[in-house]
Subunit: 167 residues, 2 copies
């Protein structure tokens, strides 16, 4: 069994581009004022892509037990029929582990540290770890696909893959 360390990177839109969208304040956003100038609308930062196989967009709430670093990555999942957005509402940072859509390769994973002001939307088919909220029990509002069809694949990892803060 090989040991693989994954570098925990800060979450940025650019670094996350192969895997999904980051929904955050950003000067590159398409922004326009609404509500008589009292609100900035940062418009269409991501698209909910769930229509495959007759799917419909639904909103759910996830409540997760807290994760703590170092994190051992044992299994990853993907949703082949739809995107999946996570919006942290408990104020804590969270860890994201992802691999590009396509054939699963556990030697090419990336790990990001997201702040609660950064929501994310995984593209359809992006490999990702389940929710890893830090510090406390965390709630996430999740926007994903409702409907019939097999929309979850899992891949187990044969090696010892670990995410650490300093390495």
């Amino acid at each position: 069994m090989t040991h693989i360390d994954i570098k925990l990177e800060p979450l940025t839109r650019e670094a996350f581009k192969p895997f999904g969208d980051v929904i955050e304040l950003n000067e590159s956003n398409d922004m326009f004022p609404i509500n008589f100038g009292l609100t900035e609308r940062h418009h269409a930062l991501s698209r909910v892509d769930v229509a495959d196989g007759g799917g419909e967009p639904i909103i759910s709430l996830f409540e997760n037990q807290p994760a703590s670093l170092p994190i051992r990555v044992k299994v990853m999942e993907r949703h082949p029929l739809g995107s999946q957005a996570f919006i942290a509402i408990s104020g804590n940072p969270y860890v994201i582990v992802v691999g590009e859509a396509g054939d699963f390769d556990h030697t090419k994973l990336h790990a990001f540290l997201a702040q609660s002001s950064q929501a994310i939307n995984y593209y359809k088919g992006t490999w990702h770890h389940y929710c890893l909220g830090l510090n406390a029990v965390n709630q996430f509002v999740v926007v994903d696909r409702g409907g019939t069809g097999d929309n979850c694949d899992e891949s187990e990892i044969p090696d010892d893959v670990v995410i650490t803060v300093n390495h």
Copy 2:
């Protein structure tokens, strides 16, 4: 000009039912464990209803200037082609003002105090005030309709309608 006071009610799923869904932890939820028992999925608490006129679901970010009570309600809006969900990510409570879909009647409005742990989804056509986050500048992740078509009606209020905490 008539003066109308609106009672600020705590937001509950039952009280909000004529206007939209409340996305929150609730024992009436369809809940099942996922992620090897580490996550509770409170499933499909609301549906994103934006397909009218060829619309597609999009995710945006709103940043609002803070509101403070008492609030004078001068204009309300509705989106005839789609639902609109607001997910507070800045940790502050917010005020919701709503009227049932259909002909606008400013004498039948309701006001709710929502906690940041309560996301909401206005049904298509529900009359509502724009975002009223309290205490500070607030950010909301918004899930609504992208696409062509006229999806915003406004109604001005001829009377002096005020939301107060104690009255």
